[in-house]
């Protein structure tokens, strides 16, 4: 769909972004040492750090991806929310305090701490870069998706805008500004989503069948876009979708429920009838056609697992394993994400690390509960763009008012800024602190270490922009699942075994990180999802039985670590 920019939207958005950048430049004058750049001197208050955890973690995948998935497919998007939050239990109870005690600036610091091994540092730095880049893709895709309707700019412009803004944030003040940007973003995201949920419950549910004629979008071989056979324009475009066609019998004769309570909202929706839209893609000599057709479904059906994860209802073992694999990766992945783990270095001690994790869990938990209302509210708002699930939450806000749309979009954009800055921080630390200083042994002064980190941040920003443009048409929630799989497969076995198995050796850690990373990455590249959505090939050609690798590659990491450790002589710990 084409989206029209409004002056209010542009003004609010610009004020937000300039405010964040101004804060970043101001903070950047306060500290230029490596300790300030990479770990904010370890002096961030635990509450600020906890909300910054939420700001770091609640990425475009959480806000745009989950809401979009719920709006388009129903309950299954909420399974992502459950998995994402569950991962924090691993972080809190298993990883938080030891990682704080073991490391200085990066994940490699912690994993190499017992052995002082350059091999471990190299393997973990590479894994940090791979995970960060995979996590960066959905954030940049989300940025492009946001800017299109907000500013009327093309997707690529949004990606470049985020890339430039976030690179400036990281380059100016490193972890100090990154922390405060994430704190502001985390606070605003939870507060404004709370406001949206209150508006959703206040509005209740209304019958609005709308125009249910199928719609066809065609991209011709010469690149023109047609809607129902005529050129797409401001006056002739795809219609917004997502409506409710019947309320429960107890509302007979009424077209609206009026305000609903939090649980009542679900129960009324379950007894309602909802119109969702399915898309079918075909191609011929006239171009590629995507047909959007209405599908009338019961609320009870949409609020059951299986709307998006088709395998849950197909009965195929491979499909069920695919789902189990994703849920395992989400559970294990959070505590293995380098950009989350480095936040433990910004507080002063283990107690502060623990308290900030609990604060983060509270903020993130509240947010994920709200995603269910946001997604279902969008599903029945009549404002969905059938071509783009990532826009469900902002368009839901637009169904209330343009100003709210501008605010929510600006917050979502800040969401992307917060997460991307954390990822680029993790990546720049891996390059400057781990690879250049530790692995290559280049003697760097404090000032040079910061400068090297800044150069790495700029390079990562450019890579992120390229990938964000390349992966434009992916659901950001789906993409982030890949990052969790790789992080969990590469890092978690080494982290857990280093803490809990005395026989762990440096060679075991190197082997586990390398095999976990290569195996999960290889599996993803050979999966049916990648064959279909990246290579444009048939799913049947994929050699691996299901798309999510975690179920195989996480245990593989543990097995490799145990076997290699047993085969190599233990070295005395430092």
């Amino acid at each position: 769909m084409n989206h029209e920019a409004s002056f209010a939207a542009v003004a609010i958005f610009t004020a937000f972004v300039l405010g964040v950048l101004g804060l970043s430049f101001w903070l950047g004058r306060r500290g230029q040492s490596a300790a300030a750049y990479y770990a904010a001197h370890g002096q961030i208050h635990w509450f600020v750090n906890g909300i910054a955890f939420a700001g770091d973690y609640l990425s475009a995948a959480s806000f745009l991806g989950i809401c979009g998935m719920i709006a388009f497919s129903g309950y299954d998007g909420f399974l992502y929310a459950i998995g994402f939050l569950a991962g924090w239990i691993v972080a809190l109870f298993v990883i938080a305090e030891p990682i704080k005690a073991l490391g200085t600036y990066t994940l490699a610091d912690a994993l190499a701490s017992r052995f002082g091994s350059r091999g471990i540092t190299l393997a973990v730095a590479i894994s940090t870069l791979v995970v960060s880049i995979f996590y960066l893709i959905p954030q940049m895709v989300g940025a492009g998706a946001l800017v299109t309707p907000l500013l009327g700019l093309p997707h690529a412009a949004g990606v470049v805008l985020v890339g430039v803004a976030v690179t400036l944030i990281v380059v100016t003040a490193g972890m100090v500004s990154t922390t405060w940007v994430q704190f502001i973003k985390g606070s605003l995201l939870v507060l404004f989503c709370g406001l949206l949920v209150a508006l959703i419950l206040g509005r209740g549910l209304s019958v609005n069948t709308g125009d249910l004629t199928p719609q066809v979008r065609t991209v011709t071989p010469d690149g023109r876009v047609l809607v129902d056979g005529r050129p797409q324009s401001r006056d002739h475009d795809l219609r917004p979708v997502g409506t409710l066609s019947a309320l429960p019998a107890r509302y007979a004769g009424r077209t609206t429920t009026g305000p609903l309570g939090p649980l009542e909202y679900f129960s009324v929706l379950e007894d309602s009838t909802i119109v969702t839209w399915k898309s079918t893609r075909t191609a011929d000599e006239h171009g590629v056609h995507v047909t959007y057709e209405p599908v009338t479904r019961s609320g009870a059906d949409l609020l059951q697992p299986g709307g998006s994860f088709k395998g849950l209802r197909s009965g195929r073992l491979a499909d069920r394993l695919d789902f189990a694999s994703l849920m395992l990766a989400l559970f294990c992945g959070t505590a293995s994400l380098p950009h989350i783990l480095i936040r433990y270095y910004t507080v002063k001690d283990a107690a502060a690390a623990r308290k900030s994790t609990v604060t983060g869990i509270a903020a993130i938990g509240v947010f994920y509960v709200m995603t269910l209302y946001l997604g279902l509210g969008a599903m029945t708002s009549g404002a969905l763009d059938p071509t783009d699930s990532n826009m469900a939450a902002p368009l839901l806000a637009k169904s209330f008012s343009t100003t709210l749309f501008a605010l929510v979009s600006a917050i979502a954009f800040t969401t992307v800024l917060g997460t991307v800055s954390g990822l680029i921080m993790a990546g720049s630390g891996a390059v400057a602190h781990d690879l250049v200083s530790r692995v290559c042994g280049v003697p760097l002064t404090d000032h040079e270490k910061v400068r090297c980190g800044r150069i790495a941040a700029v390079c990562l920003g450019v890579v992120a922009m390229g990938l964000g443009i390349l992966f434009k048409n992916f659901n950001v929630g789906f993409l982030v699942g890949w990052a969790f799989n790789i992080a969990a497969s590469a890092n978690l076995p080494a982290l857990v075994m280093l803490l809990f198995w005395k026989r762990t050796t440096a060679a075991g850690i190197i082997a586990a990180v390398t095999v976990g990373m290569v195996a999960s990455l290889g599996w993803i590249l050979l999966s049916a999802d990648t064959f279909e959505k990246v290579y444009g090939l048939s799913r049947d050609l994929a050699p691996v039985p299901f798309s999510q690798p975690g179920l195989v590659t996480i245990p593989l990491g543990f097995v490799v670590l145990i076997v290699v450790s047993l085969l190599t002589p233990p070295r005395p710990a430092r």
């Binding site: 938080a96 005690a101 789902f323 509960v369 803490l499």
Partner: protein
């Protein structure tokens, strides 16, 4: 694999205590999470039941898992602070 190596290596005592209590709470949550995912995979029909407020078990269990995560985190923190 019952005690963290940090304990045997003489790392800070706080880390040791955190690991002991934390691991117990961790396993409780693993059971809750695993049980829910097991239901989704094996008996999804049970998730259609509406045990409370006209809301199905899928939603109630999902919300319950989120609340449980916070509850266990709070137990862990308060337990440490009163020790």
């Amino acid at each position: 694999m019952t005690k963290p190596t940090a304990e045997r290596d003489g790392s800070p005592a706080a880390t040791v205590r955190a690991s002991r209590t934390g691991l117990a709470l961790f396993w409780i949550y693993v059971l809750l999470y695993g049980g829910f995912m097991g239901l989704v995979l094996v008996r999804p029909d049970l998730l259609a039941l509406r045990p409370f407020g006209g809301v199905n078990l899928a939603i109630l269990a999902g919300l319950g898992l989120i609340v449980a995560a916070f509850g266990l985190a709070l137990v862990s923190m308060l337990g440490r602070d009163t020790r």
